[in-house]
Symmetry: C2
Subunit: 348 residues, 2 copies
């Protein structure tokens, strides 16, 4: 199994579902009155996105039900009790939550661009962006309430969604807090990554299991799969920032270093006695040179810090694949394994 | 039944439940890590508030169950199927949503004070306030998920909560939009008030009915009661701004006029041909005199506009009381009627 073919399979799986996901987003979030609010709320969702999380969710349903990929209508998916459930609504709900968090995060970080278009608070204004995020927030719960799942399962999916959102907020708060702290332990960093990024993958994978009425073992396995794979994804992001050429990254390589962003790599290096604060001279990404980054990377390599992060991401991916072993061995499960691989093998 | 004794009964009903409600808020939103986030999230809830909506919710439970007020533990309240339900959790959930909307509204309106203390975005900062609001948002859903109600009822309460939040966002967007429009119909204003303010009263009253398993007739009656009473409350606010002496209001009488805030009164007056934009000369509340307000009020009285708003509020209160007639006639129902009266008879 080569890296290339894993990536190809993953991108095909995403592509094959994207049109359906996009159509479902349009159906579940129609453009109604007040029009400006709904335009702003839909703006980022319409601007694109890979739809990786919805794909994880839809594949998890197929893996559990042990059906060939794309063979069953996601809107009327067979639950274990013989009824049908709208697992697409669950997937859309998670994508809507993701969109809400991006809109509010971009305000907090004052990021001007997102998915190649102006962030919502730039395209509109900060007040509208706050309100658009708030609107998506409750709409996600409205959509999750209408899956047609057995009430106990529907209620549990709603509870899990609420818990996921609270953890995302806590993760964001931890991220902000770490910027003001001199010492952060790698374990604390991993907890932050899990809350801020990975729980949404966990919820995306586990939601169909809950909705379809799977047993706790399957629900937990899929949740843990998403947590491990999502954490690996974020750690790999930190590795890529240092190791991929700027042209390929689409931004200056090593920019995390000038922004004093702590990552698993810098936290490990600090523990090894590396003077992380003076790894590069530059004050901004614009004045940072590739030579300076190369020297910093050499120091971090000598301390074993980049390898440490790579190893951590790799072991999380292995763990995420092991989590899936309680599911039937089928094509959808193989694709979920491929997605975990892809999250750390992607070039950027 | 004099106005004074209605007010006394309502204030006693609120006071008798406030300590329990405050204790429940503390239990359901403990101060955990990350501490600064949870401090900011709890800040406004701890700063006080009458707890009028939770009182409505708890009284609705007692009216439905036909039990004497304060005779049954709200945490283990008898449902119609013989199980017990935590109706206090439902009441707390609604108060938490109210708190989230206030935090985000204060950012949007850049209001510096709330409940006599600095608004959250002033006591902390805008980013923390956005995140604190977001945290309360999902926490409200987490709390509502844990009432112990039959799953179908719990799920319906969650769906209703999500719908309520979306409508509040839409109401806020309409309010902002109206500031930029030259012509707003009174019906549109009433729709905005219903969405922005009244649905939360509707949800507070209807949630215990849903959780306890009451029939649709009772759920609808309580929801409509809350909608009508909550709308009357907001319209009365507009009347009070013009008719109550500044000392009693705690702010300059007539300040809505200088802020060019459209109300049911000004919209009616415009329809009668009154030149509302030039009713007062002053540009700010500080330069506004009571004489100028008196002259404006006289014009509005001649146009019948203040009376129109008063009549509208009065008829909404009558309607809200009529809505309650499907419930058993008992002390709790009488107190809900008193609350509706109080919302328009209060002096400020």
């Amino acid at each position: 199994m080569t890296t290339e073919s894993t990536e190809e399979r993953v991108l095909a799986a995403v592509r094959e579902r994207r049109e359906q996901v996009n159509a479902a987003i349009d159906e579940d979030l129609p453009l109604t009155e007040p029009e400006r609010l709904w335009e702003a709320s839909r703006y980022l969702l319409k601007a694109g996105g890979k739809r990786l999380r919805p794909t994880v969710s839809l594949l998890a349903a197929e893996a559990l039900a042990d059906v060939p990929p794309l063979s069953v209508d996601y809107r009327q998916f067979p639950a274990l009790d013989g009824e049908t459930v709208d697992v697409m609504a669950g997937a859309v709900s998670l994508e809507v939550i993701q969109s809400f968090t991006l809109i509010h995060d971009d305000i907090m970080d004052d990021d001007a661009l997102r998915r190649g278009v102006p962030a919502v608070h730039k395209a509109y204004d900060v007040d509208t962006a706050i309100l658009a995020g708030d609107t998506l927030y409750s709409t996600a719960f409205e959509i999750m309430a209408e899956t047609g799942a057995a009430p106990a399962n529907g209620l549990e999916a709603m509870r899990m969604l609420a818990d996921t959102c609270t953890r995302i907020c806590e993760g964001q708060a931890m991220d902000v807090e770490f910027e003001h702290r001199t010492e952060v332990l790698p374990e604390e960093y991993l907890e932050m990554v899990e809350s801020k990024t990975a729980v949404l993958y966990g919820d995306a994978a586990a939601t169909p299991a809950v909705l379809l009425g799977a047993d706790d073992e399957a629900v937990d396995a899929l949740y843990n799969y998403g947590i491990a794979a999502g954490s690996a994804f974020q750690i790999q992001d930190d590795v890529l920032d240092l190791t991929v050429p700027s042209e390929q990254l689409g931004k200056q390589r090593g920019s995390d270093l000038v922004e004093n962003k702590e990552t698993l790599i810098t936290l490990h290096a600090r523990q090894q006695g590396v003077d992380v604060d003076n790894l590069v001279d530059a004050e901004t990404a614009e004045t940072l040179t590739d030579d300076a980054v190369e020297a910093a990377v050499e120091t971090l390599n000598e301390a074993g810090s980049i390898e440490y992060a790579r190893e951590k991401a790799r072991s999380l991916v292995e763990q995420s694949k092991a989590d899936l072993e309680v599911l039937p061995d089928n094509e959808a499960r193989n694709l979920l394994e491929d997605i975990a691989e892809y999250l750390i093998s992607r070039g950027y």
